[in-house]
Symmetry: C2
Subunit: 146 residues, 2 copies
DNA sequence: TCATTTCATTGGGGAACCCAACGACTTTTC
DNA sequence: GAAAAGTCGTTGGGTTCCCCAATGAAATGA
């Protein structure tokens, strides 16, 4: 029963540390993407569209865990900027087939570079070996592999 | 250059996984604390007050990284519920000396139990050894040790 | 004395997250 | 082939977290 330093009760909670680390990561990535004029979700959607195109909005949202409501706004932004196109799906007229434009592909490349740099900064305190280990643990905790 | 599975570009970003894991942790803790009628920040402030009392609001906010503006609202809630008291500091009349009431202490105990259970659920996929390792890495990434 | 700083408080706001309901359209089922 | 049930994109609402600017009161240092 050693005397705990002040604030240890909160600071030693995994959920607390996770929140702080995530906030730091978010801030670093947001700062990096701001140079391209994009938010985090713009980048995420852009990347998912490249991987899945042509894809319906509902499938897109499910793939990245984004609410359909919020996806509408993101796609409006991306389409206005000419990074993405929505085309009616002839096989199912309820659907929009979302695809990447050449401009969107180029911007995505730059975003990925920026995001990777931000993540390098985030993980700077860790060795390469520790980063691998960290990612492995993170994947198992995040519930992403379902 | 093995073909990456779809969505790997985003899902393999540490900042992305960190965000998902933190969201899961937040949800688990929020659910646990809801049984006591408290939000995450109520619990955090309550815990910090116990460790630091009597403490000025500004010091409290700095200790847990909470904006002074938001701290006002949290303390209003806690004081209305009789969990915390604000007393003018005779040595510096600008300050409010915040302290815990007996009720606040009892509720905090219950909150800590609930929060620990939620964190056990969060870390359930990890062995005890891996949890220690994960926490160590997390501390170094979160920028909390400054 | 007076300039600077810190205090608690009020104001506003951006961004991530989630839920309910709608018209248009599809598929299923009788 | 018509009604039922489900899905699509969209619009509406809402909560939580995180940060900045400005105020009046009070302390501090020159």
């Amino acid at each position: 029963m050693a005397a705990e330093p002040p604030l240890a009760a909160i600071r030693s909670l995994p959920s607390w540390l996770l929140g702080r680390a995530a906030a730091r990561g978010r801030a670093l990535v947001a700062e990096a993407l701001a140079a391209e004029g994009l938010k985090m979700w713009h980048h995420v959607v852009l990347s998912a569209v490249r991987d899945l195109a042509p894809v319906a909005q509902a499938d897109l949202g499910r793939g990245i865990g984004l609410d359909p409501k919020d996806l509408v706004g993101i796609l409006n932004d991306l389409q206005s900027a000419g990074l993405v196109v929505r085309a009616p799906d002839p096989r199912d007229r309820r659907k929009n087939a979302v695809s990447l434009t050449p401009d969107g592909g180029r911007l995505l490349d730059r975003c990925e570079k920026a995001a990777h740099q931000a993540n390098d900064t985030l993980l700077a305190p860790l060795s390469a070996d520790e980063r691998d280990r960290f990612m492995d643990l993170l994947i198992r905790i995040s519930g992403t592999e379902g």
